[in-house]
């Protein structure tokens, strides 16, 4: 049993509602993004295709942010998710160097790190993370990965050409890919 996000690449329209709802809940200023939607293009005209990837903390089992945190601010909570204790945080930024996904964000001005907490207080009260309830396409979910896998089929992955190897951190994430997302000939595009 491990908790994590499920993301369906096939359905995502790239609208970035999840990103904006996350910023709203976390009160984030411009430049600090806990959930980021990125868009990619593969292939060549006129056969080019595109897909979007909504990524946030993967609440890794071998989380490098936790291992490398000198103050113990980054830790695994009792439910296995990676949490961050703002009181303990030194703002050293080691976690921002260690995380291969670029998840922890250092607010230089405030001198503190922040990242996705998978909306733990909301989940503890029986609610979903805000990004999940915001999704126009219902292509984001959070829960027990085994359950998510049984619901969404066996072909879920943790690895795409645009992502770091899952061997690095053992991420708790389940991605339903579409074919073009496996293409190594991929360019990130600003929309």
């Amino acid at each position: 049993m491990a908790l994590g996000f499920f993301f369906d690449v096939t359905m995502c329209i790239g609208c970035r509602t999840c990103q904006v709802a996350c910023k709203d809940r976390n009160g984030l200023k411009v430049g600090i993004v806990f959930r980021r939607v990125r868009s990619f293009e593969t292939g060549h005209y006129p056969e080019a295709l595109s897909y979007n990837y909504s990524g946030s903390c993967n609440h890794c089992k071998d989380a490098r942010c936790v291992k490398g945190c000198p103050s113990g601010a980054m830790y695994h909570a009792e439910d296995g998710t990676v949490q961050h204790d703002r009181q303990k945080c030194l703002g050293c930024g080691y976690c921002t160097w260690n995380c291969p996904y670029g998840v922890p964000q250092l607010d230089e001005e405030a001198g503190i790190v922040g990242k996705c907490d998978s909306c733990k207080p909301l989940r503890d009260a029986g609610k979903n993370p805000v990004c999940v309830d915001a999704c126009l396409m219902r292509c984001l979910e959070f829960g027990d990965l085994d359950e998510l896998a049984s619901r969404h089929g066996k072909n879920l992955v943790r690895e795409l050409p645009i992502l770091p190897s899952p061997a690095l951190t053992n991420p708790c994430v389940a991605i339903k890919p579409k074919t073009c997302a496996f293409s190594a000939d991929v360019r990130e595009v600003d929309l």
């Binding site: 970035r16 709802a21 709203d24 809940r25 009160g27 703002g91 050293c92 126009l136 600003d190």
Partner: protein
């Protein structure tokens, strides 16, 4: 090293939004259903979490469990950013005037748009505005005051100006393009709205054509999700347009590429292929029974009684009149569509396939697109794709995208009087700036609204009043608009932020947002068919902001008008009346019943809080529960007798249920259309659809078409609706600027030729203006085409004359054709790598109001 010894602020607790989680779930904070009131393309649920009179968070619909059949009405990133806008640094706090403005002369008028601002009191502001209006009326007459609005119904503010004797109006085909003129006459519903089947029936289609539609970007909320349900049910999607857009991507649509403004050529070749390949015995493509019974003008055997020209559609397509058969090869040279794709598309239209032909209005927002609605309809008719389950031919646009049909829950009437505008001048929007600069205009909107066509009318416009529309940058030709603004005696705006029209004004009156009002608004009832939203006031008006009706009432006092006659009903009472009068479909789906139950207790509460009166009534849901929820949604399910098949009555009995056209049928030959447009004198069209190369279209990108030598402006630019904003609204919202970077999309082929790399700053220019954007290089856009997202806030550098904001209408030509269409998608440009300073990210270029009002005294 600095990170080892961080500059941590001297605080143990740096506020984080998540600290409001508790308030969000345990009742410490109050969730208030909040308006989402702009013309974004969606209609969705929004709510604001209020803690200690502060909005600390937003959410969307959680009023019932979510399912594809009974979906929550989830909002898009714009809706989720609403509090950034309401409380944003750009909010105007006080009435302001230009520092170098002087009453009745305008002072130094050339400083409009670049002057400093001075804070003034409301009394001063209203006195000034009233004095200018009176002066213009007494000296030059009411015709000298222009209010470039969409329609009176868009804002109650316009009533004061109607009561004052009226104003010159504009007529803008806007979003709907040529459909504004040629929908009813062809037999289509007005604007071709509500013309396709509903979302449940969409699941019965085998093929769904999305003709230039992009609900993923342009119709927030559920439309994209509804189309996904059709895909899951097995529909194959076809997308037609100049770029393989976000919608084509997620639906795995087959891309049929067509250059902007060449759609009629493409579809004529589709018709040619259908005529040529159709064989009733072996290969039945065309539904001849349908054409015979429900249409006129397909061929010489089916001419309408009112035909004045002895020509028909089929013989034109086959080349009988001009010697040019409209073959796929002929069209391909124009539209850029491969011949094989045209033939394939034609075969998909076959009568024995369940096809939904759905269009946006992008192809009709082109010069010389007067015949696009007719050819689109004609192809649908040839396949017989009207009025049957799985088959439909109509619009997929905005909140009706993927879900057409009459409202199942609808708003009532407010009871407010609508005053007539006594000025009869109506100027085509594209001609407005020239009319101000030259003092002349041609009246062509005429035949549609009962005003005679007349040329060279003298007009002396002295005042422009901007309210409920940001016209300076939503009408083509922004540089000409600036010249026009700098000529006028007086320019005034009602605005909540310094939008472009306000920026070029003399006086700006700060209005409250819909979150600060307990009132109705134009787009609230314009809902998706299963839902009505009932937001409440979230907060008290901020700073000195006031409602439009308050401003209008104050103006009445200074203009010698009886405010009680112009505005006899308060904003709160009007909203209450609309709610009380709302209707909902009954359980059987056979009729409507009253939506809201109102008790004596409700009346006492509303009376005390909002000064509202009413009478008790019985309905489906109590007022208190309705307003706490903020939404009423009819629960739909398969086979619930609330579905919609468009044209069903007409198809079942065409004689008893004729269409709006002269013949009562779909007019593939339409004498009324030809007469209507030809009378305007801007173009000459045939009664049947023909291809006319567009003004500023693809052909005109060549100096020598026959030898394919490109001209001075060799690229076509078009303007996709963009998720960062609703037209121009929201574009000053930081989180949206961060999420959506607003590059200009350029084909990889063209970029390579010009030596431009992704992210390079490029200048796009033509004879009307210059804009800067970062290049977004894409393999999913046709070479020769440039997509400049619609609505970016214009920000012209006075030294260079270059718009650093990337506003589309800086490049759109203030010229028109045919029905006077605003032809946003047919414009020609060139572009090059910019050799000045690279453009900074748009997030670095905020906020506007603070920068411009820092001189406020």
């Amino acid at each position: 090293m600095s990170r080892l010894f961080p500059k941590r602020k001297n605080t143990d607790r740096i506020p984080a939004g998540r600290e409001f989680d508790q308030a969000a779930i345990d009742g410490q904070g109050k969730w208030i259903p909040a308006a989402c009131w702009f013309n974004c393309g969606g209609r969705c649920y929004n709510a604001a979490l209020v803690v200690n009179d502060m909005v600390v968070r937003q959410k969307t619909d959680d009023t019932h469990p979510d399912s594809p059949d009974f979906p929550q009405q989830r909002g898009c990133p714009r809706g989720r950013s609403m509090r950034q806008q309401v409380f944003g640094p750009d909010r105007l706090k006080y009435p302001i005037r230009r520092k170098h403005w002087e009453p009745l002369t305008g002072g130094d008028k050339t400083l409009r748009g670049r002057d400093e601002w001075v804070r003034i009191s409301w009394d001063e502001a209203i006195d000034y505005v009233a004095a200018e209006l009176k002066h213009a009326k007494e000296t030059y007459g009411n015709r000298s005051i222009v209010v470039p609005h969409w329609a009176n119904s868009f804002s109650e503010f316009y009533e004061v100006l109607n009561a004052f004797g009226g104003f010159t109006q504009i007529f803008d085909t806007g979003s709907f393009g040529t459909y504004v003129y040629v929908s009813l006459v062809l037999g289509l519903p007005l604007l071709d709205m509500d013309s396709a089947n509903d979302r449940f029936d969409l699941r019965n289609s085998e093929t769904i054509v999305l003709y230039a539609c992009n609900p993923a970007w342009a119709a927030g909320g559920n439309p994209a999700y509804h189309f996904w349900q059709a895909k899951k049910a097995g529909a194959e999607f076809i997308f037609v347009g100049p770029s393989h857009n976000a919608t084509a991507d997620y639906l795995d649509a087959r891309w049929i590429r067509v250059r902007p403004g060449t759609d009629t050529a493409f579809l004529l070749a589709v018709a040619y292929t259908m005529f040529k390949e159709d064989n009733p015995a072996g290969n039945p493509l065309i539904d001849w029974d349908f054409l015979h019974r429900y249409t006129v003008g397909i061929d010489a055997e089916h001419m309408p009684d009112d035909a004045m020209v002895d020509e028909n559609f089929k013989d034109y397509v086959l080349g009988k009149y001009d010697g040019q058969p409209k073959t796929p090869a002929w069209a391909s040279e124009i539209s850029g569509t491969p011949v094989n794709d045209i033939v394939w598309y034609a075969r998909q239209m076959r009568k024995d396939r369940k096809v939904a032909l759905l269009h946006s209005y992008a192809a009709a927002r082109c010069n010389n697109a007067d015949d696009f609605p007719q050819i689109f309809m004609s192809i649908g008719a040839m396949g017989g794709h009207f009025g049957k389950s799985g088959h439909s031919c109509g619009a997929a646009y905005h909140f009706q995208s993927a879900n057409c049909g009459p409202s199942l829950v609808s708003a009532g009437a407010s009871g407010a009087p609508e005053l007539p505008n006594q000025v009869t001048d109506i100027i085509a929007a594209v001609d407005l700036w020239d009319a101000i600069l030259t003092g002349k205009y041609d009246s062509t909107p005429g035949p549609m609204i009962g005003v005679p066509v007349e040329k060279d009318i003298d007009i002396d416009i002295r005042v422009i009043y901007h309210a409920a529309r940001n016209s300076l940058q939503t009408i083509p030709g922004c540089n000409k608009a600036i010249d026009a603004h700098r000529k006028l005696d007086f320019v005034v705006s009602n605005a909540f932020s310094l939008n472009t029209s306000a920026r070029y004004s003399d006086i700006v009156l700060p209005i409250s947002t819909q979150w600060e009002r307990q009132s109705d608004y134009f787009y609230r009832p314009a809902s998706n068919r299963e839902v009505q939203f009932f937001p409440s006031r979230v907060i008290q008006p901020l700073y000195e902001a006031r409602s439009d009706q308050w401003i209008a009432t104050e103006l009445c006092k200074r203009l010698g008008l009886d405010a009680k006659k112009v505005y006899p009903i308060s904003e709160e009472q009007k909203y209450f009346n609309v709610i009380a009068d709302s209707q909902v479909i009954n359980a059987q789906g056979t009729g409507y019943e009253t939506l809201v139950t109102i008790s004596e207790e409700d009346l006492a509460e509303w009376g005390a809080k909002w000064g509202v009166t009413g009478t008790p009534q019985q309905g489906r849901i109590g007022l208190k529960e309705l307003m706490e929820k903020g939404v009423y949604q009819v629960e739909r399910y398969e086979g619930d007798n609330k579905g919609f098949i468009s044209y069903k009555d007409f198809i079942e009995d065409p004689e008893a249920n004729p269409l709006n056209s002269a013949s009562g049928k779909f007019e593939i030959y339409c004498q009324t259309k030809a007469d209507l447009i030809n009378e305007m004198g801007r173009s000459t069209v045939k009664p049947y659809p023909t291809y006319i190369p567009a003004l500023n279209g693809y052909e005109q990108s060549f100096s020598d078409w026959d030898n394919k030598v490109k001209g001075e402006y060799p690229y076509q630019v078009y303007n996709p609706h963009y998720p960062r904003r609703a037209h121009t609204v929201f574009d000053d919202t930081p989180v949206l600027r961060e999420a959506w970077k607003n590059p200009v999309f350029i084909s990889a082929h063209d970029a390579t030729q010009k030596g431009i790399k992704d992210g390079d700053t490029v200048m796009i220019y033509n004879r009307y203006g210059k804009v800067l954007r970062k290049a977004g290089i894409s393999h999913r856009i046709m070479p020769g085409c440039i997509a400049l997202p619609h609505g970016a806030w214009m920000n012209i550098d006075e030294k260079t004359g270059i718009d650093n904001g990337g506003s589309d209408n800086v490049l759109c030509a203030p010229v028109t054709t045919g029905c006077g269409v605003t032809g946003y998608n047919t414009n020609l440009v060139n572009f090059e790598k910019y050799d000045g300073n690279p453009l900074e990210a748009d997030t670095e270029n905020l906020p506007r109001a603070m920068k411009l009002t820092k001189e406020v005294k």
